[in-house]
């Protein structure tokens, strides 16, 4: 059985059921673990999370990228999306929202301390 493959719209109708597909790795891989309690075995469940770099770095992927690039319609002087500038503006807007008083300075200082400790290599801490 693969839980990931099940459509997220089929169950319940509650928010939890509808959103299950996108949070399943949080339910299964995050949350508090207590050593003296038993955890249900996940044997037999398809691996839910993957190392994205492994998927990208394969001959199959190289061939697929080459093939898809060859089929792309690049006529018409297409310009790059220009995300850096747009995201820069959004980030400023976000900081401004923060400045309107949602977060306290003290709280942010704690958060900054944690940023120094928690790794940001794409996998985080366990």
């Amino acid at each position: 059985m693969t839980i990931m493959a099940q459509p997220s719209s089929s169950g319940g109708g509650g928010s939890a059921a509808g959103a299950l597909y996108d949070i399943i790795e949080l339910i299964l891989d995050r949350g508090l673990v207590i050593d003296v309690f038993v955890r249900v075995s996940l044997v037999g469940i398809e691996v839910l999370t993957i190392d994205a770099r492994v998927v990208v770095a394969s001959i199959d992927t190289y061939l697929r990228f080459a093939e898809r690039c060859g089929r792309l319609d690049l006529t018409g002087g297409r310009q790059p999306v220009g995300l850096p500038a747009i995201v820069g503006q959004i980030t400023e807007d976000s900081a401004e929202r923060k400045a309107r008083g949602v977060l306290t300075g003290a709280g942010r200082a704690i958060a900054d301390t944690i940023h120094d400790i928690v790794t940001t290599d794409g996998h985080g801490s366990n």
Partner: protein, 245 residues
């Protein structure tokens, strides 16, 4: 009898358990066991518990309902204690830590953001922004696709560019949302997503968070899709106490 454990809360939590059903085919009733200022939400544990869709939804529904009413420390799915006494013993043993954690998490929820590129749009954007790659692509096309080794070499070069772009866009997304969050954590990598990140945000900042997400969605329209979940119990932040020590 074994107990399925959903979360720890403080004794001040209203614990709206009456309408909730726990994991297992029978949908067992929920109840709380208390120790001083703490409570644990539990049910009878079903036999042969497995991570079935029904039970994952039950676990999540219980926690989403409870986080809406007050702070919780969520257990990972499938946590089973031998009996009530073992649960109380754990509350006793970890009382200081759990109390501090609940204090720290109070008034906050987890929001999770996943981003996935439209692959064709991503490749086209990389080509549009890089003359060398564009020339190599044109040369292969002119050669009717080229030899397999040429395709692999070009594809590998594209894959490198894709990886760099994934890393860049993940950093952009986190940078844009981080100012609104107390904490952020990269969640496990999942298929096709260039970023999977959770933010611990004040409950009152959710509208601002959604507004920034909407801006990001507009900026990435046709290029990448963002999927946002929450308000979630703080699955990714149950070590928030240790992290600050």
């Amino acid at each position: 009898m074994a107990r399925y454990v959903y979360c720890f809360t403080d004794a001040g939590h209203s614990l709206p358990l009456a309408d909730l059903r726990g994991v297992g085919a029978e949908g067992p009733a929920l109840r709380a066991v208390h120790h001083e200022g703490l409570a644990a939400v539990i049910s009878d544990a079903p036999e042969g518990l497995r991570p079935k869709r029904r039970d994952l939804v039950a676990h999540e529904t219980v926690l989403e309902t409870l986080i809406a009413a007050g702070p919780v420390v969520p257990m990972r799915f499938g946590t089973v204690a031998p009996d009530d006494d073992a649960v109380v013993a754990e509350l006793t043993r970890g009382a200081g830590r759990y109390t501090e954690l609940l204090t720290r998490l109070a008034g906050h929820v987890e929001r999770n953001v996943k981003g996935a590129h439209d692959e064709d749009a991503l490749l086209a954007d990389l080509l549009a922004g890089n003359q060398e790659l564009r020339a190599r692509n044109e040369a292969l096309r002119a050669a009717g696709g080229g030899s397999q080794s040429d395709q692999v070499a070009f594809g590998e070069r594209m894959a490198l560019a894709v990886e760099q772009r994934r890393t860049r866009d993940a950093a952009y997304l986190v940078a844009a949302l981080r100012p609104l969050a107390m904490l952020d954590r990269h969640a496990p990598s999942v298929k096709d997503c260039f970023v999977n990140v959770s933010f611990l945000i004040p409950s009152g900042a959710q509208d601002d968070f959604d507004a920034v997400v909407a801006q990001l969605r507009t900026a990435m329209q046709g290029y990448a899709e963002l999927r946002v979940s929450g308000a979630l119990p703080p699955y990714s932040f149950v070590d928030a106490v240790e992290a600050t020590v």
